[in-house]
Symmetry: C2
Subunit: 492 residues, 2 copies
């Protein structure tokens, strides 16, 4: 029997604003779509938090026994600088600034994104589709939307008719915005605007002469509107209806609102059953922002090469720090908070290591493993409540730390404790043993220490010890070489 049959999962559905019991459309299969990065610059930490959140969701669903198809896209075209369908394409602009072809920009930042995601120990999605990889499919969906009467063509561009759509549907239901308020809050249309209504959004834009990324279409040589790709790629790979759609809070409006409208307008159904939104990351209490300088890149976090931090933190420590907060809550990054997280992380991992050395003595203790295990699943079942899960993990840590080697558990319960703790720490939270990247430094320091011990032995004329150190190191594959300037070493 799969774990998901034993343990209910409730998800805070952003659409209904209620915690709803999760029922997969076609268990054991689950379809999950997450909006990925626009690859025109280094990924920032706020984005990382979103992707780490949905990595945890993916891990937990998989742990429960679901067979998850996890689709996370790469936006490599069509994302304009502002939401009013104006301004330059972000990738084209960067290509112009760096004097590269747009797809070189895409390659550079996609590789960088993957590297950072790997450092945070996120599992690659099952499919990672690109906007440029789905131009034909986007043209197909535009044709459907036009044929169904929800979009109009103007001068080679195609616009979604929000007012008409809203008369029959509820535009704004995800973000909770009312179309009347949106209209009154919108500045008047320019005389030149092709839109009938300022809220209308482009699903196909005719390319201006300077726009580099462009494709043939029935309406013009142009490019798809940014919102369209996610409607197209989610339904292509997950079906017209699918289980979970995730993304950062900032995408609720207009991006996800437009996705909902496009799906309904093309297929006639609401595509997404559970909408999930990850909350923001702040830095020292302030919104992260490039313009004010209040930002932190993943590389700066790892190296400590920034005035915001006293030192670098291992990616897994940063991941643990993020898991200490619920994904739906705002989280503040600071040096103090990271230091505290590092201590907690070390305590947790030391207990995981100690647990391996414990032996059952068959007695009953006051640590009730089956009940504790149930609490862990209950925490995760309550909208992926990782902070509550972690507090339960620390109940186990306290027991382990206080335990003798013969630890007062039955062998059955000891195995259950080990399996459960390892599953939540490694499989679900996605933590790793830290410091493995530092081992070449440590090796150098230890060998240097041995060379100094040997120097002392030689000064003391303790030739036996001196030779022993040299010979044993040689067995390990470390050759000492004595020269005029002292002793150096080389590795086989």
């Amino acid at each position: 029997m799969a774990l998901y049959e034993d343990y209910d999962l409730y998800i805070n559905n952003s659409l209904t604003r209620k915690k709803e019991k999760f029922e997969a459309l076609k268990a054991p299969n689950v379809g999950m779509y997450v909006c990925g990065p626009t690859v025109y610059s280094d990924v920032h930490l706020g984005n990382c938090r979103t992707f780490i959140t949905f990595d945890m969701v993916y891990r937990y669903l998989s742990h429960l026994g679901y067979k998850v198809r996890y689709v996370r896209n790469i936006t490599d075209a069509g994302h304009l600088e502002n939401d009013a369908d104006e301004g330059e394409d972000k990738i084209s602009k960067k290509a112009r600034l760096e004097a590269l072809e747009p797809m070189e920009i895409v390659q550079k930042y996609t590789l960088g994104f993957h590297e950072v995601m790997a450092k945070f120990n996120t599992i690659p999605p099952s499919i990672e589709p690109t906007a440029t990889g789905h131009i034909v499919e986007q043209i197909d969906m535009i044709e459907q939307i036009i044929n169904n009467g929800w979009a109009y063509v103007e001068n080679g561009s195609v616009y979604f008719d929000v007012e008409k759509y809203n008369a029959a549907n509820d535009y704004g239901k995800l973000s909770g915005r009312k179309i009347e308020e949106l209209i009154s809050g919108t500045r008047e249309l320019d005389a030149q605007s092709e839109k009938r209504n300022p809220l209308d959004f482009a699903i196909w834009k005719k390319a201006s002469p300077s726009h580099i990324q462009r494709w043939n279409s029935p309406w013009s040589v142009g490019f798809p509107g940014w919102h369209l790709e996610c409607s197209v790629m989610s339904t292509k790979y997950l079906g017209e209806q699918f289980d979970i759609h995730g993304g950062g809070m900032d995408l609720k409006f207009p991006h996800h609102e437009c996705e909902i409208a496009q799906n309904k307008a093309s297929n006639g159904v609401d595509a997404v059953r559970y909408w999930m939104h990850g909350n923001m990351l702040t830095l020292n209490g302030q919104r992260m922002s490039k313009s004010t300088g209040n930002t932190l890149l993943p590389g700066e976090l790892f190296s400590g090469d920034t005035d915001k931090l006293s030192k670098g933190y291992a990616p897994t420590v940063a991941r643990f720090f993020m898991m200490q907060a619920h994904y739906g809550s705002q989280l503040d990054f600071s040096d103090e908070a990271l230091q505290a997280a590092e201590k907690g992380y070390n305590r947790l991992m030391q207990a995981v290591a100690k647990l391996d050395t414990l032996e059952a003595n068959g007695a009953n203790t006051d640590f009730d493993v089956p009940n504790w295990r149930k609490d862990c699943y209950t925490a995760m079942g309550d909208d992926f409540n990782t902070p509550i899960l972690i507090s339960h993990l620390f109940e186990a840590v306290r027991f382990i730390n206080g335990a003798e080697k013969a630890c007062g558990l039955s062998s059955e319960n000891l195995v259950l404790l080990k399996n459960t703790l390892n599953a939540f720490v490694y499989d679900v939270l996605g933590l790793e043993k830290a410091g493995e990247g530092n081992q070449s430094d440590k090796l150098d320091e230890v060998v240097t220490m041995l060379i100094e011990m040997r120097n002392k032995a030689r000064a003391d004329k303790d030739w036996a010890l001196s030779d022993q150190i040299r010979d044993e190191l040689a067995t390990i594959g470390i050759q000492l070489k004595d020269g005029a300037d002292g002793t150096s070493y080389s590795l086989d």
Copy 2:
């Protein structure tokens, strides 16, 4: 002044079968296209050799001062099981066998390919375009070819008219095949065949009901012919004419022959100035083949987990081994050959390390650095002759091994020797210091050795030494813990 202005480069052009002086179309820019993998299974070593070859070409061109745009594609659709435009699509078939969606297959094997390429220290290409990412562009090129009169539509599929093309051009000029011989060697067309001539090839295929990957087109819901993507993606990113096109020898016919025809038929020009083909890899004297079991996967090579090898070899050693042969020659993989390569690699890298410790003494020796440096460039300028380059590098190795610390070179020549040797070893050949992946093993062995030394010290009641070892390790971040079962350690 860029190095390429000082050092000529001659390339064995597969098209003319002559060594030709390389003249970039628009120096300092160079455009290079290499046929990448079809991502439906683990990349095999023969493919790896091709990609390592062109990585070396890319590195040397960049080293010479060219600004190279290096495009290597991913075939993620349209590659049928045989060349006669019949059989199942390779990726769709694998998707059916593994019960996955085709793009899940693509993701799985693309990630695996990237991982292996990183282990071999290849530099990612500037752009890595996919076939599915260029359906619109492929449709555009098909329309051009039809409009120019070189293709015909039959029952929703589009075929390239080889006989008509050959009357005005020379089909077969790359592979040296004559169309008359090709025709006589081809079995008669089936009565059902849509082709006018057995040599015609599909540039668009109507999808059979079971074919999963399919797109709308003016002719049918179908998919592009495999040969088309490379014509489209090379010219999209490098222009209608570009400098270098590379690939494995096995792609000469029909793949590259068809590319040449498609480019000429659509744009009216010969796209490629220099065609380069990497030769095959054999294993123990036999062709590698899955069906006979005479194969070796990269993972097996690295781990040694195969009956073909006595042990695992570091990726950089395998790379060095490949560089010891000219890319145009067949190369045989065997355990003995790899062991010999490993010795040579170690000798080379030890000399590189020793060179760092040498000091100039201002004298003249019989090692003529400027002349040696020129020989290195002459070797590489002769169609990237890496085996000759390596023989020159070993002239330097012999000098270094024989040198005293005060090494009998002027400081100018010592700097020139260091810079040149490092540039060819690291930048051009792409070698790395091996064994860095083994350092955690070595660290464990060294710490275990120190624990044993401490045990002995305690047995001898040498508390000073015992405490010293514990305290110095703690400073390095290695904590010893004494327990009933002996001493264990943990890393901070």
